[in-house]
Symmetry: C2
Subunit: 106 residues, 2 copies
Amino acid sequence: MQALNPTTPSGNPATASEATALAAAAPGWSCSERPPSLFRRFEFASYAQTRAFLDRLAELQESSGVTAQNINFGRTYVNVTLSAMGAALSPAEYALAAELGRLATA
Amino acid sequence: MQALNPTTPSGNPATASEATALAAAAPGWSCSERPPSLFRRFEFASYAQTRAFLDRLAELQESSGVTAQNINFGRTYVNVTLSAMGAALSPAEYALAAELGRLATA
């Protein structure tokens, strides 16, 4: 059966059941299928908090090797889009999503 | 005469002739009237160069007191939108635009 979330060996993708478990560990993100991506908006009380989040995000990208496809920010918000590097999202993208969620509420 | 680029005392805006001179000092930016804003896309060869530009941009925002209304970036590009804090763009926004242009070509 052709799944909504197609997988190929090259992308080291999550299976559908893995994806469900991984998504549960990264609450607050919305998931798109085409292209496979995760999106979340983070809001902050001040520009200083926004900057601190962006700095930690940059560090996490460097340590995880996952680079957000797009980051859109203003004084008090950051919109993050994590896209699949292969045909489907991999555990690495979900892990970064979960970590960013923990960071924003820390 | 009502200019295309309306001004009010509160925003410390540039006059039309000042704006022309200031815009000439910040080449490569496109200027919108409604809302008054400057936009430019910067492209880089690597994520490391993109990060370096973003870090300098953050420093310039802090030193100038002008915060971009929106910054949108991915691995090798940064889109910057500078909006007027008052009714029209002020010399401060044009100065930041010019400095970012110099930085990108340095």
